[in-house]
Amino acid sequence: MSTVRAMVDTAGSQNPPADKRQRLTNGQLLLGLGIAMLAVLIIVTVFAPLIAPFDPSKTSPNSLAGPSAQHWLGTDSIGRDVLSRLIVGGRTTLLITAVAVFLALAAGLVLGLLSGYLGGMVDEIIMRVLDVVFAFPVFLLAIAVVAALGPTVPNLILTIAIVYTPAMARVVRGPVLSVKEWDHVEAARSVGVSELRLVLRHVLPMVISPIVVATSLTLSHTIFTVTALSFLGLGPPPPDPNWGGMLSEARQFMELAPLTVVGPATAIVFATLTFIVLANGLREVLDVGSWR
């Protein structure tokens, strides 16, 4: 309780502006790095068609070529430009990730707030149901859903959202359990504030920091999950490129054209790392401490 209190109180409350000469803390450096990496990711994703030097689906007889001035990362087995496919393929992967995490966050927020704030039977029912979902191995559940409903982008998004909802709900529920007993919430209740407003105005703002950090971490996990599922053939169908699918295609020709593997692998690592760095930076700066 006291650690939660400390964590939340210092989080973002009007700290005096830091002295300019003062050295940046590790957290601030991490956060800056994370934001810079995220900016690269967003710019490349948004302007992908403009940045990509070639049409990602255009084949050429020049297959499995090494790096050249024209094709920086060479070409794949049917002569498509790897760099262009990487740039455009990031769109699919990152879009699936972003939408899935957004859905998981929305569902987790609602369930976590309901569960933590109302407590009692509601809490029991919600948490036990989520425990069941949580108990499923991620890939098993994903394979089952995608196998049953077909490997389309919406199905993939839905599956991943379901898989990550319990974790998000738990992250929300924990601090809500203690924040709802705090004095300022009781004071607001005694004033006559409605339950809905109590939750949204008096409880939710106190638990934002751990949620922000958890969301960033979940994003990094999800990128990995999305690419892994695509690698297993459960991702969006070809010919549209995506990182996991590219990795899977290139695997057979790894010895002939190593860059076709290294390219998507690096992209996946970079994107995953972006959100881990961001999460750690946020954790330090928002002073979430040992939460989670």
Binding site: S13, H184, E186, A187, V191, G192, V193, S194, P205
Partner: protein, 325 residues
């Protein structure tokens, strides 16, 4: 004023009857009766001081009156309406008549809401002031608690404990309540600030005709503000009467012990007192035993409350007397 106008003027503003609070059993611990059959009245414009040691049920009584704590038994009538039987929407409406000042001013203000936002919240909830006049009302409230209205756009962390407590009081007064529960309103403050807040509470009572339930463990402060005093022990009121009656002629052994525990500001006498071993009081927790009580009455047989009037307006409980008396 307001609703009170329709009622006879001598009727109490708040009438608490046989109030009991039971905390449900948890993890192997048996259910705990925190408040047992508490009854009292508070007249308009009067203050009832509620004193007792930690864990005696003072705060729980205050919270139960405000319906922030589930009431197990008994009734709480404010302005003639029983709060314990109200629907939650009616209760929310009723909250404009009763307000709460909490103990710790550092935690009872929302850290991310400006003072103006905090003070407009009750006005908005009860629609007591049109939106165009909110600012004016906030400034008026701040002036009422002797603060500069210019600070309304700051956050709570810009203020000291005493200033925060003034803001908390301003929030409680925003909707023109009739009754305010002050739960240890000064015990988190330093002594000088305590005096200022007590003075403020008293002047507000004179100005606005407020009634207070003033919960505190500091006997000197309660004497300062209370018209009537109730002493709580083990979830019961063991003695209640006018402030002078309880302080000058305490009748219940627990009250006597409580008053004797107050240090005397004379080192010679105080040292002498400390050298004496404190009287060992063991208060028998006999609940409803069949037999004569310490006043020789068998309440189980007569069906009367275990309460004995010893003077006009001064009563004591026959519970928790040392077995020897």
């Amino acid at each position: 004023m307001r609703l009170a106008k329709k009622r006879p003027t001598d009727a109490p503003l708040l009438q608490v009857r046989d109030l009991s609070v039971v905390f449900p059993a948890q993890r192997g611990n048996p259910p705990l009766a925190a408040v047992k059959g508490v009854s009292f009245d508070i007249a308009p414009g009067q203050t009832l001081g509620l004193v007792g040691q930690s864990g005696s049920g003072k705060t729980t009584t205050g919270r139960a009156i405000l319906q922030l704590q589930k009431v197990h038994q008994g009734s709480v009538e404010l302005l003639g309406e029983d709060l314990t039987k109200m629907s939650s929407s009616n209760l929310r409406r009723m909250r404009r008549h009763m307000q709460f000042v909490l103990q710790n001013p550092y935690s009872s203000l929302h850290p991310r809401m400006t003072i103006a936002q905090t003070l407009t919240e009750p006005l908005r909830v009860h629609r007591s002031v049109p939106p165009s006049q909110m600012r004016e009302r906030v400034a008026e409230l701040l002036e009422l608690v002797n603060m500069d209205p210019a600070v309304m756009h700051r956050y709570p962390n810009a203020f000291s404990g005493g200033q925060r407590q003034r803001i908390v009081i301003a929030r409680a007064l925003a909707v023109n309540p009739d009754f305010v529960v002050c739960d240890e309103p000064v015990s988190a403050l330093d002594v000088r600030t305590q005096a200022q807040i007590v003075t403020l509470l008293r002047s507000l009572q004179d100005k606005l005709g407020l009634s207070y339930l003033f919960i505190a463990h500091d006997l000197a402060i309660v004497r300062e503000v209370a018209h009537k005093v109730a002493v709580m022990f083990g979830g019961r009121i063991v003695e209640m009467g006018n402030a002078s009656q309880v302080y000058d002629t305490p009748a219940h052994p627990y009250t006597q012990m409580l008053l004797n525990a107050v240090p005397i500001p004379d080192p010679i006498i105080q040292r002498k007192r400390l050298r004496l071993t404190p009287p060992e009081f063991r208060f028998s927790a006999d609940e409803d035993h069949d037999g004569p009580c310490s006043h020789g009455e068998n309440h189980v047989r007569t069906g009367t409350a275990p309460w004995h009037q010893i003077a006009d307006g001064h009563g004591i409980s026959c519970r928790y007397w040392p077995p020897t008396s």
